[in-house]
Protein backbone atom coordinates (compact mmCIF):
# COMPACT_ATOMS: atom_id res chain seq x y z
CA UNK A 1 0.00 0.00 0.00
CA UNK A 2 1.04 3.52 -0.71
CA UNK A 3 2.39 5.40 2.29
CA UNK A 4 1.24 8.97 2.36
CA UNK A 5 0.02 11.82 4.48
CA UNK A 6 -2.68 14.14 3.24
CA UNK A 7 -3.63 17.54 4.58
CA UNK A 8 -7.18 18.60 3.73
CA UNK A 9 -8.62 22.06 4.10
CA UNK A 10 -6.32 22.94 6.93
CA UNK A 11 -6.68 26.34 8.61
CA UNK A 12 -4.83 27.45 11.72
CA UNK A 13 -5.46 30.52 13.86
CA UNK A 14 -3.27 31.96 16.58
CA UNK A 15 -5.84 33.95 18.50
CA UNK A 16 -7.59 36.06 15.89
CA UNK A 17 -4.83 35.80 13.30
CA UNK A 18 -5.40 33.23 10.61
CA UNK A 19 -1.98 31.86 9.78
CA UNK A 20 -2.97 29.06 7.41
CA UNK A 21 -5.98 29.23 5.14
CA UNK A 22 -7.50 26.11 3.65
CA UNK A 23 -4.29 24.29 2.78
CA UNK A 24 -4.37 21.02 0.81
CA UNK A 25 -1.12 19.14 0.46
CA UNK A 26 0.07 15.57 0.36
CA UNK A 27 3.43 13.88 0.68
CA UNK A 28 4.35 10.25 0.16
CA UNK A 29 7.10 7.73 0.48
CA UNK A 30 9.59 7.78 -2.37
CA UNK A 31 9.27 11.50 -2.99
CA UNK A 32 10.88 14.30 -1.07
CA UNK A 33 8.25 16.98 -0.65
CA UNK A 34 9.36 20.51 0.09
CA UNK A 35 7.50 23.45 1.54
CA UNK A 36 8.85 26.83 0.53
CA UNK A 37 7.77 30.40 0.93
CA UNK A 38 8.85 33.68 2.44
CA UNK A 39 9.45 33.95 6.13
CA UNK A 40 6.20 34.21 8.08
CA UNK A 41 4.19 32.49 5.36
CA UNK A 42 3.20 29.65 7.70
CA UNK A 43 5.65 26.87 6.78
CA UNK A 44 6.55 25.96 10.36
CA UNK A 45 2.92 26.15 11.38
CA UNK A 46 1.96 23.79 8.55
CA UNK A 47 4.65 21.33 9.59
CA UNK A 48 3.59 21.47 13.22
CA UNK A 49 -0.02 20.97 12.26
CA UNK A 50 0.84 17.47 11.02
CA UNK A 51 2.05 16.21 14.39
CA UNK A 52 -0.14 18.60 16.34
CA UNK A 53 2.72 20.51 17.90
CA UNK A 54 0.71 23.69 17.40
CA UNK A 55 -1.55 22.46 20.18
CA UNK A 56 1.20 23.35 22.64
CA UNK A 57 0.77 27.07 22.02
CA UNK A 58 -1.98 28.98 23.82
CA UNK A 59 -4.84 30.35 21.79
CA UNK A 60 -4.33 28.10 18.79
CA UNK A 61 -7.30 26.83 16.82
CA UNK A 62 -7.12 24.31 14.00
CA UNK A 63 -9.68 23.33 11.40
CA UNK A 64 -9.41 20.67 8.69
CA UNK A 65 -7.85 17.24 8.81
CA UNK A 66 -4.56 15.46 8.43
CA UNK A 67 -4.79 11.81 7.41
CA UNK A 68 -1.89 9.46 7.86
CA UNK A 69 -1.97 6.31 5.72
CA UNK A 70 1.22 4.68 6.82
CA UNK A 71 0.29 1.08 7.46
CA UNK A 72 -2.80 -1.01 7.08
CA UNK A 73 -5.21 1.65 8.20
CA UNK A 74 -5.61 5.39 7.83
CA UNK A 75 -5.69 7.49 10.97
CA UNK A 76 -6.89 11.02 11.37
CA UNK A 77 -4.57 13.29 13.33
CA UNK A 78 -7.45 15.45 14.53
CA UNK A 79 -9.90 12.57 14.87
CA UNK A 80 -11.53 11.51 18.14
CA UNK A 81 -9.34 9.49 20.44
CA UNK A 82 -6.07 10.31 18.69
CA UNK A 83 -3.22 9.97 21.16
CA UNK A 84 -0.97 12.92 20.31
CA UNK A 85 2.07 11.26 21.90
CA UNK A 86 1.68 8.35 19.48
CA UNK A 87 1.08 10.76 16.61
CA UNK A 88 4.28 12.65 17.39
CA UNK A 89 6.23 9.43 17.57
CA UNK A 90 4.79 8.35 14.24
CA UNK A 91 5.67 11.59 12.51
CA UNK A 92 9.11 12.42 13.88
CA UNK A 93 10.26 16.02 13.78
CA UNK A 94 13.60 17.79 13.37
CA UNK A 95 13.78 21.47 14.29
CA UNK A 96 15.32 24.36 12.43
CA UNK A 97 18.10 24.92 14.97
CA UNK A 98 19.72 21.76 16.28
CA UNK A 99 17.66 20.98 19.37
CA UNK A 100 19.84 18.77 21.54
CA UNK A 101 19.16 18.16 25.20
CA UNK A 102 21.77 19.91 27.35
CA UNK A 103 23.09 16.50 28.37
CA UNK A 104 25.42 13.81 27.08
CA UNK A 105 25.15 12.38 23.58
CA UNK A 106 24.06 9.06 25.04
CA UNK A 107 21.40 10.68 27.21
CA UNK A 108 19.91 12.33 24.14
CA UNK A 109 18.99 8.84 22.95
CA UNK A 110 18.42 7.18 26.29
CA UNK A 111 15.87 9.66 27.57
CA UNK A 112 13.19 9.22 24.88
CA UNK A 113 13.98 5.56 24.18
CA UNK A 114 13.67 4.64 27.82
CA UNK A 115 10.84 6.86 28.93
CA UNK A 116 8.75 6.98 25.80
CA UNK A 117 9.33 3.54 24.33
CA UNK A 118 10.29 1.78 27.57
CA UNK A 119 13.36 0.13 26.05
CA UNK A 120 16.13 -1.50 28.07
CA UNK A 121 19.78 -0.61 28.09
CA UNK A 122 20.98 -3.07 25.45
CA UNK A 123 18.25 -2.12 23.02
CA UNK A 124 18.97 1.57 23.54
CA UNK A 125 22.67 1.12 22.82
CA UNK A 126 21.82 -0.92 19.74
CA UNK A 127 19.46 1.64 18.30
CA UNK A 128 21.78 4.50 19.14
CA UNK A 129 24.67 2.91 17.29
CA UNK A 130 22.56 1.87 14.31
CA UNK A 131 21.04 5.29 13.76
CA UNK A 132 24.28 7.14 14.42
CA UNK A 133 25.78 4.98 11.70
CA UNK A 134 22.82 5.83 9.44
CA UNK A 135 23.63 9.52 9.74
CA UNK A 136 27.38 8.86 9.47
CA UNK A 137 28.11 10.22 12.90
CA UNK A 138 29.08 7.04 14.70
CA UNK A 139 32.79 7.21 13.97
CA UNK A 140 32.94 10.80 15.18
CA UNK A 141 31.22 10.16 18.50
CA UNK A 142 31.73 6.50 19.42
CA UNK A 143 34.52 7.39 21.86
CA UNK A 144 32.78 10.35 23.41
CA UNK A 145 29.20 9.28 23.98
CA UNK A 146 29.39 10.64 27.52
CA UNK A 147 30.35 14.14 26.37
CA UNK A 148 27.80 16.95 26.34
CA UNK A 149 25.94 17.00 23.04
CA UNK A 150 26.48 20.76 22.82
CA UNK A 151 30.20 20.15 22.24
CA UNK A 152 29.43 18.82 18.75
CA UNK A 153 29.47 21.14 15.74
CA UNK A 154 26.18 22.47 14.41
CA UNK A 155 26.11 19.98 11.57
CA UNK A 156 26.94 17.11 13.88
CA UNK A 157 24.24 18.22 16.30
CA UNK A 158 21.68 18.32 13.53
CA UNK A 159 22.65 14.81 12.45
CA UNK A 160 22.40 13.73 16.07
CA UNK A 161 18.85 15.12 16.16
CA UNK A 162 18.05 13.22 12.98
CA UNK A 163 19.51 10.02 14.43
CA UNK A 164 17.56 10.55 17.65
CA UNK A 165 14.32 10.84 15.71
CA UNK A 166 15.19 7.80 13.59
CA UNK A 167 15.94 5.78 16.71
CA UNK A 168 12.30 6.21 17.71
CA UNK A 169 11.41 4.36 14.50
CA UNK A 170 8.97 6.90 13.09
CA UNK A 171 6.85 6.23 10.03
CA UNK A 172 7.19 9.72 8.56
CA UNK A 173 9.52 12.68 8.95
CA UNK A 174 8.86 16.40 9.34
CA UNK A 175 11.89 18.60 8.87
CA UNK A 176 11.86 22.32 9.60
CA UNK A 177 14.65 23.93 7.59
CA UNK A 178 17.09 21.31 8.83
CA UNK A 179 20.03 22.95 7.10
CA UNK A 180 19.23 26.59 7.83
CA UNK A 181 21.99 27.04 10.37
CA UNK A 182 24.58 24.81 8.71
CA UNK A 183 27.55 25.47 6.48
CA UNK A 184 27.89 24.21 2.92
CA UNK A 185 29.40 20.81 3.65
CA UNK A 186 27.11 20.01 6.55
CA UNK A 187 24.17 21.01 4.36
CA UNK A 188 25.26 18.65 1.60
CA UNK A 189 25.58 15.76 4.05
CA UNK A 190 22.05 16.25 5.31
CA UNK A 191 20.71 16.56 1.75
CA UNK A 192 22.48 13.35 0.88
CA UNK A 193 20.84 11.62 3.84
CA UNK A 194 17.43 12.85 2.77
CA UNK A 195 17.86 11.30 -0.68
CA UNK A 196 18.17 7.99 1.08
CA UNK A 197 15.56 8.52 3.79
CA UNK A 198 12.84 9.46 1.32
CA UNK A 199 12.82 5.86 0.13
CA UNK A 200 12.00 4.75 3.68
CA UNK A 201 9.15 7.06 4.55
CA UNK A 202 7.17 10.12 3.55
CA UNK A 203 9.11 13.31 4.24
CA UNK A 204 7.86 16.87 4.37
CA UNK A 205 10.76 19.32 4.54
CA UNK A 206 10.59 23.07 4.91
CA UNK A 207 13.36 24.69 2.92
CA UNK A 208 14.61 28.23 3.00
CA UNK A 209 16.31 27.94 -0.35
CA UNK A 210 14.86 27.59 -3.79
CA UNK A 211 18.21 26.25 -4.98
CA UNK A 212 18.16 23.47 -2.46
CA UNK A 213 14.56 22.65 -3.27
CA UNK A 214 15.31 22.37 -6.95
CA UNK A 215 18.34 20.23 -6.17
CA UNK A 216 16.72 17.61 -3.95
CA UNK A 217 12.94 17.88 -3.90
CA UNK A 218 10.61 15.86 -6.08
CA UNK A 219 7.68 18.11 -5.38
CA UNK A 220 7.26 21.48 -3.75
CA UNK A 221 4.40 23.52 -2.39
CA UNK A 222 4.79 27.26 -2.39
CA UNK A 223 3.18 28.97 0.59
CA UNK A 224 2.38 32.65 0.64
CA UNK A 225 0.51 34.36 3.44
CA UNK A 226 -0.87 31.06 4.63
CA UNK A 227 -2.11 29.70 1.30
CA UNK A 228 -0.60 27.34 -1.21
CA UNK A 229 -0.11 29.51 -4.28
CA UNK A 230 1.74 27.06 -6.47
CA UNK A 231 2.61 23.39 -6.69
CA UNK A 232 5.82 22.48 -8.45
CA UNK A 233 6.47 19.04 -9.87
CA UNK A 234 9.86 17.77 -10.84
CA UNK A 235 9.93 19.34 -14.27
CA UNK A 236 8.88 22.70 -12.87
CA UNK A 237 11.61 22.39 -10.24
CA UNK A 238 14.16 22.04 -13.00
CA UNK A 239 12.84 24.88 -15.09
CA UNK A 240 15.32 27.65 -14.42
CA UNK A 241 13.15 30.37 -15.92
CA UNK A 242 10.16 29.47 -13.80
CA UNK A 243 12.25 29.30 -10.64
CA UNK A 244 13.75 32.68 -11.40
CA UNK A 245 10.29 34.17 -11.73
CA UNK A 246 9.18 32.52 -8.51
CA UNK A 247 12.20 33.80 -6.65
CA UNK A 248 11.38 37.34 -7.75
CA UNK A 249 7.76 36.96 -6.65
CA UNK A 250 8.49 35.44 -3.30
CA UNK A 251 11.63 36.84 -1.80
Amino acid sequence: MDQLITVDGLSVWFGEARVLADVDIEFRKGELTALIGPSGSGKTTQLRAVNRMNDLFPGVHTQGEVTLSLGDASVRAYGDGMDVAVLRRTAGMVFQDPNVLPASIRKNFALPLRHVLGLGKAEIEGRMEATLRDVELWDDVRDRLGDPAQTLSGGQQQRLCLARVLSMEPKALLLDEPTASLDFLATRRIEHLLEWLKERFPILAVSHSLGQTSRIADKAYVLKEGSVVETLDRSALHNAERLQKLAEELF
Binding site: N51, M53, L56, V84, A85, V86, R88, R89, G92, M93, F95, D97, N99, L101, P102, A103, S104, R106, K107, L111, P112, H115, V116, G146, P148, R164, V165, M168
Partner: protein, 293 residues
Amino acid sequence: MRRWREKLLISASWVAALGVLAVVGVLVMFLVVRSANVLGPTLLFGDVPWTQAVFAGARVFDGIWPAVAGTLILVALSAGIAIPLGVAAGVHLSEYAGPRFRASVTLVVDVLAGIPSIVMGLFGYSMILLLRKTIAPEAKTGLLLAAACIALLVLPYMIRATQSALGGLPMRIRLLGPSLGMSQTQTLHRVLIPAASRGILSGAILSVGRAAEDTAVIMLTGAVATAGGRGPQDIMAKFEALPFKIFVTAAEHNTAAELDQGFGAALVLLALTATLFVGAYMLQRSLERRWTS
Protein backbone atom coordinates in the same frame (compact mmCIF):
# COMPACT_ATOMS: atom_id res chain seq x y z
CA MET B 1 37.40 57.60 24.18
CA ARG B 2 35.46 54.41 23.90
CA ARG B 3 38.40 52.29 24.99
CA TRP B 4 38.99 54.59 27.88
CA ARG B 5 35.45 54.19 29.09
CA GLU B 6 35.68 50.48 28.70
CA LYS B 7 38.79 50.41 30.86
CA LEU B 8 37.09 52.50 33.49
CA LEU B 9 34.14 50.12 33.53
CA ILE B 10 36.40 47.11 33.85
CA SER B 11 38.34 48.61 36.73
CA ALA B 12 35.12 49.67 38.44
CA SER B 13 33.79 46.13 38.31
CA TRP B 14 37.10 44.82 39.67
CA VAL B 15 36.94 47.27 42.53
CA ALA B 16 33.34 46.25 43.25
CA ALA B 17 34.19 42.55 43.23
CA LEU B 18 37.27 43.00 45.40
CA GLY B 19 35.25 45.28 47.66
CA VAL B 20 32.79 42.49 48.37
CA LEU B 21 35.65 40.12 49.12
CA ALA B 22 37.27 42.68 51.39
CA VAL B 23 34.08 43.30 53.35
CA VAL B 24 33.51 39.59 53.87
CA GLY B 25 37.17 39.14 54.78
CA VAL B 26 37.08 41.94 57.34
CA LEU B 27 33.88 40.57 58.85
CA VAL B 28 35.28 37.07 59.22
CA MET B 29 38.58 38.40 60.56
CA PHE B 30 36.74 40.49 63.09
CA LEU B 31 34.72 37.50 64.30
CA VAL B 32 37.81 35.30 64.43
CA VAL B 33 39.80 37.86 66.40
CA ARG B 34 36.99 38.58 68.84
CA SER B 35 36.30 34.92 69.48
CA ALA B 36 39.93 33.75 69.34
CA ASN B 37 40.18 32.83 73.00
CA VAL B 38 36.97 30.81 73.08
CA LEU B 39 37.35 28.89 69.80
CA GLY B 40 37.61 25.15 70.30
CA PRO B 41 35.51 22.26 71.51
CA THR B 42 34.68 24.00 74.79
CA LEU B 43 32.84 26.72 72.88
CA LEU B 44 30.40 24.08 71.70
CA PHE B 45 30.33 21.59 74.53
CA GLY B 46 31.77 23.23 77.65
CA ASP B 47 33.54 20.50 79.56
CA VAL B 48 31.21 17.70 78.49
CA PRO B 49 32.83 15.17 76.08
CA TRP B 50 31.35 15.83 72.63
CA THR B 51 30.26 12.24 72.01
CA GLN B 52 28.27 12.38 75.25
CA ALA B 53 26.59 15.61 74.21
CA VAL B 54 25.84 14.63 70.61
CA PHE B 55 24.89 10.98 70.98
CA ALA B 56 23.93 10.42 74.61
CA GLY B 57 22.01 13.61 75.23
CA ALA B 58 24.25 14.78 78.06
CA ARG B 59 23.35 18.28 79.18
CA VAL B 60 25.63 21.11 78.08
CA PHE B 61 25.25 24.30 80.12
CA ASP B 62 28.29 26.31 79.20
CA GLY B 63 28.53 25.54 75.48
CA ILE B 64 26.45 26.51 72.45
CA TRP B 65 25.82 22.96 71.23
CA PRO B 66 22.10 23.04 72.15
CA ALA B 67 21.71 26.16 70.01
CA VAL B 68 23.62 24.59 67.11
CA ALA B 69 21.45 21.47 67.25
CA GLY B 70 18.35 23.64 67.53
CA THR B 71 19.26 25.67 64.47
CA LEU B 72 20.10 22.59 62.43
CA ILE B 73 16.79 20.95 63.23
CA LEU B 74 14.88 24.18 62.71
CA VAL B 75 16.46 24.61 59.28
CA ALA B 76 15.80 20.98 58.34
CA LEU B 77 12.16 21.20 59.42
CA SER B 78 11.41 24.49 57.73
CA ALA B 79 13.24 23.48 54.56
CA GLY B 80 11.35 20.20 54.65
CA ILE B 81 8.09 22.15 54.65
CA ALA B 82 8.98 25.08 52.38
CA ILE B 83 11.00 23.40 49.63
CA PRO B 84 8.51 20.75 48.50
CA LEU B 85 5.59 23.17 48.86
CA GLY B 86 7.42 25.98 47.11
CA VAL B 87 8.61 23.82 44.23
CA ALA B 88 5.14 22.37 43.77
CA ALA B 89 3.54 25.80 43.80
CA GLY B 90 6.17 27.20 41.44
CA VAL B 91 5.70 24.32 39.02
CA HIS B 92 1.97 24.78 39.12
CA LEU B 93 2.17 28.52 38.51
CA SER B 94 4.65 28.17 35.69
CA GLU B 95 3.28 25.10 33.92
CA TYR B 96 -0.38 24.59 34.68
CA ALA B 97 -2.05 27.76 35.94
CA GLY B 98 -4.09 29.93 33.63
CA PRO B 99 -2.92 33.52 33.13
CA ARG B 100 -5.45 35.13 35.47
CA PHE B 101 -4.90 32.67 38.30
CA ARG B 102 -1.15 33.05 37.82
CA ALA B 103 -1.32 36.83 37.98
CA SER B 104 -3.35 36.87 41.17
CA VAL B 105 -1.29 34.21 42.94
CA THR B 106 1.93 35.93 41.87
CA LEU B 107 0.65 39.10 43.50
CA VAL B 108 -0.09 37.23 46.73
CA VAL B 109 3.35 35.63 46.66
CA ASP B 110 4.95 39.05 46.24
CA VAL B 111 2.98 40.40 49.18
CA LEU B 112 4.08 37.40 51.23
CA ALA B 113 7.69 38.03 50.26
CA GLY B 114 7.36 41.59 51.52
CA ILE B 115 6.12 40.69 54.99
CA PRO B 116 8.74 41.58 57.61
CA SER B 117 9.84 38.62 59.66
CA ILE B 118 8.75 40.24 62.93
CA VAL B 119 5.21 40.33 61.54
CA MET B 120 5.50 36.67 60.60
CA GLY B 121 6.56 35.99 64.20
CA LEU B 122 3.57 37.92 65.51
CA PHE B 123 1.34 35.96 63.21
CA GLY B 124 2.64 32.68 64.64
CA TYR B 125 2.24 33.99 68.16
CA SER B 126 -1.36 35.08 67.53
CA MET B 127 -2.14 31.68 66.05
CA ILE B 128 -1.17 30.14 69.35
CA LEU B 129 -3.32 32.64 71.26
CA LEU B 130 -6.21 31.84 68.98
CA LEU B 131 -5.73 28.10 69.45
CA ARG B 132 -5.65 28.53 73.20
CA LYS B 133 -8.93 30.40 73.25
CA THR B 134 -10.62 27.88 70.98
CA ILE B 135 -9.82 24.26 70.37
CA ALA B 136 -6.50 23.71 72.13
CA PRO B 137 -6.16 25.39 75.54
CA GLU B 138 -2.83 23.63 76.02
CA ALA B 139 -1.18 25.05 72.87
CA LYS B 140 2.12 26.81 73.32
CA THR B 141 4.90 28.08 71.16
CA GLY B 142 7.61 25.63 70.15
CA LEU B 143 9.89 24.25 67.48
CA LEU B 144 7.19 23.10 65.06
CA LEU B 145 5.41 26.45 65.16
CA ALA B 146 8.70 28.28 64.61
CA ALA B 147 9.59 25.99 61.71
CA ALA B 148 6.16 26.52 60.15
CA CYS B 149 6.47 30.31 60.42
CA ILE B 150 10.02 30.25 59.00
CA ALA B 151 8.73 28.04 56.20
CA LEU B 152 6.05 30.62 55.46
CA LEU B 153 8.74 33.29 55.47
CA VAL B 154 10.91 31.55 52.86
CA LEU B 155 8.09 30.01 50.85
CA PRO B 156 7.81 32.97 48.47
CA TYR B 157 11.52 32.73 47.57
CA MET B 158 11.09 29.07 46.75
CA ILE B 159 7.99 29.70 44.66
CA ARG B 160 9.53 32.57 42.73
CA ALA B 161 12.83 30.77 42.17
CA THR B 162 11.04 27.72 40.78
CA GLN B 163 8.63 29.74 38.72
CA SER B 164 11.27 31.91 37.13
CA ALA B 165 13.72 29.06 36.55
CA LEU B 166 11.03 27.16 34.65
CA GLY B 167 9.60 30.25 33.00
CA GLY B 168 13.04 31.22 31.74
CA LEU B 169 13.53 28.01 29.79
CA PRO B 170 13.59 28.65 26.05
CA MET B 171 10.63 27.52 23.95
CA ARG B 172 12.79 25.12 21.99
CA ILE B 173 13.55 22.97 25.02
CA ARG B 174 9.85 22.95 25.90
CA LEU B 175 8.99 21.67 22.45
CA LEU B 176 11.63 18.95 22.48
CA GLY B 177 9.95 16.51 24.86
CA PRO B 178 6.54 16.58 23.15
CA SER B 179 8.17 16.28 19.72
CA LEU B 180 9.66 12.98 20.88
CA GLY B 181 6.32 11.73 22.11
CA MET B 182 6.72 12.55 25.79
CA SER B 183 3.64 13.37 27.81
CA GLN B 184 3.37 16.68 29.59
CA THR B 185 4.31 15.05 32.90
CA GLN B 186 7.28 13.25 31.39
CA THR B 187 8.51 16.45 29.78
CA LEU B 188 8.20 18.22 33.10
CA HIS B 189 10.02 15.54 35.11
CA ARG B 190 12.61 14.44 32.61
CA VAL B 191 13.43 17.61 30.74
CA LEU B 192 12.13 20.84 32.24
CA ILE B 193 12.80 20.39 35.96
CA PRO B 194 16.32 19.03 35.40
CA ALA B 195 17.05 21.88 33.02
CA ALA B 196 15.78 24.37 35.61
CA SER B 197 17.40 22.65 38.59
CA ARG B 198 20.15 25.20 38.96
CA GLY B 199 17.70 28.03 39.50
CA ILE B 200 15.48 25.97 41.76
CA LEU B 201 18.43 24.97 43.92
CA SER B 202 19.68 28.49 44.25
CA GLY B 203 16.24 29.36 45.60
CA ALA B 204 16.61 26.52 48.08
CA ILE B 205 20.04 27.77 49.13
CA LEU B 206 18.69 31.26 49.73
CA SER B 207 15.82 29.82 51.75
CA VAL B 208 18.10 27.72 53.90
CA GLY B 209 20.33 30.70 54.59
CA ARG B 210 17.34 32.81 55.51
CA ALA B 211 15.95 30.07 57.76
CA ALA B 212 19.25 29.75 59.59
CA GLU B 213 19.69 33.43 60.33
CA ASP B 214 16.21 34.65 61.09
CA THR B 215 15.76 35.82 64.66
CA ALA B 216 12.58 37.82 64.74
CA VAL B 217 10.30 34.93 63.87
CA ILE B 218 11.73 32.44 66.33
CA MET B 219 11.90 34.79 69.28
CA LEU B 220 8.13 35.10 69.17
CA THR B 221 7.41 31.48 68.36
CA GLY B 222 9.40 29.37 70.77
CA ALA B 223 13.12 30.13 70.89
CA VAL B 224 14.51 30.52 74.42
CA ALA B 225 17.89 31.40 75.85
CA THR B 226 18.34 28.09 77.65
CA ALA B 227 16.34 24.93 77.06
CA GLY B 228 17.71 22.46 79.54
CA GLY B 229 21.18 22.19 78.04
CA ARG B 230 20.16 19.89 75.22
CA GLY B 231 19.18 20.12 71.58
CA PRO B 232 15.46 19.81 70.74
CA GLN B 233 13.91 16.67 72.19
CA ASP B 234 10.31 17.38 71.27
CA ILE B 235 9.08 19.39 68.30
CA MET B 236 6.33 20.95 70.36
CA ALA B 237 8.74 22.24 73.01
CA LYS B 238 10.79 25.40 73.36
CA PHE B 239 14.25 25.25 71.84
CA GLU B 240 17.56 27.07 71.55
CA ALA B 241 18.82 28.50 68.28
CA LEU B 242 22.05 30.25 67.30
CA PRO B 243 20.73 33.60 66.10
CA PHE B 244 18.62 34.01 69.20
CA LYS B 245 21.55 32.94 71.38
CA ILE B 246 23.69 35.62 69.74
CA PHE B 247 20.99 38.22 70.18
CA VAL B 248 20.49 37.42 73.85
CA THR B 249 24.22 37.33 74.55
CA ALA B 250 24.73 40.68 72.86
CA ALA B 251 21.90 42.24 74.84
CA GLU B 252 22.42 40.70 78.24
CA HIS B 253 25.99 39.51 78.69
CA ASN B 254 27.47 40.01 82.15
CA THR B 255 31.13 39.29 81.55
CA ALA B 256 33.60 39.81 78.74
CA ALA B 257 33.93 36.03 78.46
CA GLU B 258 30.22 35.73 77.75
CA LEU B 259 30.49 38.30 75.03
CA ASP B 260 33.41 36.40 73.50
CA GLN B 261 31.23 33.32 73.47
CA GLY B 262 28.62 35.36 71.60
CA PHE B 263 31.16 36.21 68.92
CA GLY B 264 32.14 32.56 68.81
CA ALA B 265 28.48 31.66 68.26
CA ALA B 266 28.32 34.17 65.40
CA LEU B 267 31.32 32.57 63.77
CA VAL B 268 29.80 29.12 64.20
CA LEU B 269 26.55 30.33 62.62
CA LEU B 270 28.52 31.67 59.68
CA ALA B 271 30.40 28.40 59.33
CA LEU B 272 27.15 26.48 59.58
CA THR B 273 25.45 28.37 56.77
CA ALA B 274 28.61 28.16 54.67
CA THR B 275 28.59 24.39 55.16
CA LEU B 276 24.93 24.21 54.20
CA PHE B 277 25.65 26.24 51.05
CA VAL B 278 28.56 24.03 50.07
CA GLY B 279 26.44 20.96 50.73
CA ALA B 280 23.64 22.29 48.56
CA TYR B 281 26.11 23.17 45.83
CA MET B 282 27.58 19.68 45.87
CA LEU B 283 24.14 18.15 45.81
CA GLN B 284 23.31 20.23 42.77
CA ARG B 285 26.52 19.23 41.02
CA SER B 286 25.91 15.56 41.59
CA LEU B 287 22.27 15.80 40.49
CA GLU B 288 23.37 17.61 37.37
CA ARG B 289 26.01 15.02 36.61
CA ARG B 290 23.52 12.26 37.07
CA TRP B 291 21.06 13.93 34.75
CA THR B 292 23.48 14.87 32.01
CA SER B 293 25.44 11.63 31.70
